[in-house]
């Protein structure tokens, strides 16, 4: 079992609730992928989702910014309250929601555009820059936060698709933070990164926490323990256990959680 960092324990439980999800269900056609999930995601907190492959982590994450809308067969039920407002309400515009709740996808998906345009895409759409100089600044800051600036600063006009897998992953992180979302959903953002880049991305996540809420899916227990204050363990579409990261890793309630984090199932 892992020791959770001390800092993580001390800062929990006094934050406002950002996402309040109740009785959430997701079906893909006849497959029941998410079953009765209830979870509260706090502001200024890093929440990690862990669980065996195929248990529904990505599916649940995608519910939080309505990305499942783009899948024809997917059906979502339940209440997803963001700051007290149901995001699946008719009045809510998914486009605005997604500007507020950003996402880094499990598979890196840079646009077939230049590195610069990849990052500038969101800020341009949302009119965040008044002029070219401001846009340059936004792009540079985002790339620095994504820990990729040094590698690409001389080749900003080259296609983002020409980068290595790990570089693409960081480019996508930079692209997502460039729009300054309130909530950032990260689906295995470090899966292709070396330890140094991983450490830099974790630094970024910690920094983001001061202003936003971050949800991260990860297969690395160490990472979950290092960066998150809250951890949710999913298994076969159920949310088995949710609580303070330190608690989950040192003293899990459910035997399934214990076997997963000690490596017996999954």
């Amino acid at each position: 079992m892992y020791d959770a960092p001390k800092t993580a324990e001390s800062t929990v439980s006094q934050n406002e609730i950002k996402f309040d999800c109740r009785d959430c269900q997701v079906w893909y056609g006849d497959t029941h992928a998410i079953k009765d999930v209830n979870i509260q995601i706090e502001d200024n907190t890093v929440t990690s989702f862990i669980g065996p492959s195929g248990c529904g982590k990505s599916t649940f994450l995608r519910c939080l910014n309505r990305m499942n809308d783009t899948i024809d067969v997917a059906r979502v039920e339940g209440q997803f309250l963001l700051d007290g407002e149901d995001i699946y309400d008719r009045k809510v515009d998914p486009v605005q929601l997604r500007a507020k709740v950003g996402m880094v996808f499990q598979k890196p998906n840079p646009f077939p555009k230049s590195i610069y345009d990849n990052v500038a895409y969101g800020p341009k759409i949302h009119g965040m820059a008044k002029n070219k100089a401001e846009l340059d600044e936004i792009v540079e800051r985002a790339l620095r936060r994504g820990a990729i600036w040094d590698e690409v600063k001389d080749r900003l006009d080259q296609p983002g698709t020409g980068l290595s897998g790990g570089q693409q992953q960081r480019l996508c992180i930079a692209r997502a933070v460039a729009t300054e979302p309130e909530v950032l959903l990260m689906d295995e953002p470090c899966s292709a990164l070396d330890p140094i880049a991983t450490a830099l991305v974790e630094e970024l996540i910690d920094e983001l926490r001061t202003r936003y809420s971050v949800v991260i899916v990860t297969h690395s227990m160490q990472q979950a323990a290092r960066v998150s204050q809250k951890t949710a363990f999913f298994h076969l579409g159920n949310l088995v256990e949710f609580g303070d990261t330190g608690e989950i890793f040192t003293n899990p309630n459910d035997p399934r959680t214990e076997s997963y984090i000690t490596g017996r199932i999954g």
Partner: protein
């Protein structure tokens, strides 16, 4: 033995060979196919191939060579005088062949005995009469040399066919023996079959390529022939198209520029219609339409592609032309003299090209990975922003390729032009004037009664060559662009 039976016989031997080879292989392995190098069927196929390939190969070669040989033998027998009477050697030989067929049919129907048909001293008048009585078509009377030639033609053909049947069957049986001898536990039948499959595929590809080469060569030779009769510079740079109708040389102006201009102008109008409509339809179908709408609308658009172009031509002539006349003709704006014009043909051709552009673009847009769109939506982009800024740029090279392919179809289109654009070769800017294209002129140059050796007819090949080079260039360019696009998001 008739050809059909011969082929059946070889196939029969092959079938037997397949069964024998299979069971022989199994026998060698003691009934357990795991002991064999290859699966039992491969041994069967090996034997069958050893039978069919050489036997059919010989058959084909024989069928090609025998007539050549016999013809050369026969032409030696025909005296100079009858060649002069008959017009040319080719015509006389045709006469010989017809007479021989007549004799064959007469013998078959019992009007003549075999001996009589072969009788060298037979009286040709009597033979002619008998052939006529038997209902055979005989042009005039058969002369003595022709009758004799026909008789030896018959005999040589019969002997040749006999020899061929025997040779082919012997070869098939030899193949059977060879294949069976090879069959053994460690013989690599699977590899042999693999090689033959490859050979078959290569053969199919070569046929396609060789035909293309043949067509191109015939175009080239005739074009060269044309340029010997007519100066190339006047063809390529002449601005006047006025072939003389006498057909025999004379003062023809055969400048290609007015025709190229017409082709170009009509194609541009067609593309201006087809590209926006086709592209927007494709975007709607692939990005916005629900799967139910899509399942109805996509086939409905593609029905357009199944309409024969002559029907489009009728539509141009009978519907679009008169409609345009009402608006732009004498009663309306007065720009248009008659219903046939660049506009008429261009509009209709544009309609014809819509499904072409839309279904190709639809495929290309669908090939853009969903992850691209997700990435854009995830940043808070709307659907139309996503399409404009992510999907279309990613698909653009492919779409350009589709448009270029559509353009090469437009350039090659004939029927709509013949019916919709008129026949006057003009160099003008007014799209409501009648003009004509390269393709339409090829048709009119060859359907007249001009001598095929005159420049007025041969120009068709030069036109065809020009067209071929143009569309080839466009296609190569399109393929180049499409290929480049494939490398984009991988």
């Amino acid at each position: 033995m008739p050809l059909f039976w011969l082929i059946l016989a070889v196939l029969g031997v092959a079938l037997a060979g397949f069964i024998l080879g299979r069971s022989r292989a199994l026998g060698h392995a003691g009934g357990d196919s795991r002991g064999l190098h290859s699966l039992p069927n491969y041994y069967g196929w090996n034997v069958a191939l050893k039978i069919m390939v050489p036997a059919f190969g010989l058959l084909v070669v024989w069928l090609l060579l025998q007539p050549l040989y016999i013809t050369s033998q026969i032409s030696e027998m025909i005296p100079e005088a009858s060649v002069a009477d008959g017009g040319s050697l080719g015509l006389v030989l045709a006469e010989v062949r017809r007479a021989a067929e007549g004799l064959d049919a007469a013998v078959a129907s019992g009007a003549m005995t075999e001996e009589f048909a072969r009788d060298v001293r037979a009286d040709f008048a009597d033979v002619t009469q008998r052939l006529k009585d038997a209902g055979q078509i005989v042009t005039g009377t058969i002369t003595q040399p022709i009758l004799n030639a026909a008789q030896s033609y018959r005999i040589m053909t019969a002997t040749g066919n006999m020899a061929m049947s025997v040779a082919v069957l012997v070869l098939a049986l030899a193949g059977l023996a060879w294949g069976l001898r090879q069959t053994g536990v460690s013989f690599r039948a699977r590899n042999v079959v693999e090689t033959s499959v490859r050979a078959l595929l290569i053969a199919a590809a070569s046929v396609a390529i060789l035909t293309t080469v043949g067509i191109v060569l015939s175009l080239v030779f005739n074009t060269v022939e044309f340029f010997r009769l007519y100066p190339a510079s006047e063809f390529f740079f002449g601005t006047n198209w006025a072939p003389s109708f006498s057909g025999r040389g004379g003062a023809s102006d055969l400048g290609v520029i007015p025709l190229l201009w017409g082709t170009f102008y009509i194609s541009i109008v067609a593309l201006l219609v087809a590209v926006p409509i086709g592209l927007f339809a494709a975007i709607y179908l692939s990005e916005y339409a629900s799967s139910r709408v899509r399942s109805i609308a996509k086939p409905a658009i593609e029905v357009l592609a199944g309409i024969p172009t002559i029907v489009y031509g009728l539509f141009a002539l009978l519907t679009v032309g008169p409609l345009l006349m009402e608006v732009f003709g004498k009663e309306g704006l007065g720009w248009m003299q008659s219903g046939t014009s660049v506009m008429t043909a261009g509009l209709v051709m544009g309609i014809m090209l819509i499904p072409f552009v839309s279904s190709l673009s639809d495929d290309i847009i669908n090939a853009v990975p969903q992850a691209m769109r997700d990435g854009s939506y995830g940043l808070g982009a709307t659907q139309s922003e996503t399409i404009r800024q992510v999907v279309l740029p990613a698909a653009l090279p492919g779409i350009v390729g589709a448009i270029l392919l559509a353009a090469s179809r437009a350039i090659g289109e004939t029927m709509i032009v013949v019916l919709g654009a008129g026949a006057a070769a003009r160099l003008e800017l007014n799209p409501f004037e009648a003009m004509t294209t390269v393709t339409a002129k090829i048709v009119s140059q060859l359907t007249g009664d001009a001598d095929f050796a005159s420049p007025e007819a041969l120009v068709a090949f030069a036109l065809g060559m020009t067209l071929f080079v143009l569309t080839l260039g466009l296609n190569v360019f399109a393929l180049f662009i499409v290929r480049k696009y494939r490398e984009q998001y991988e």
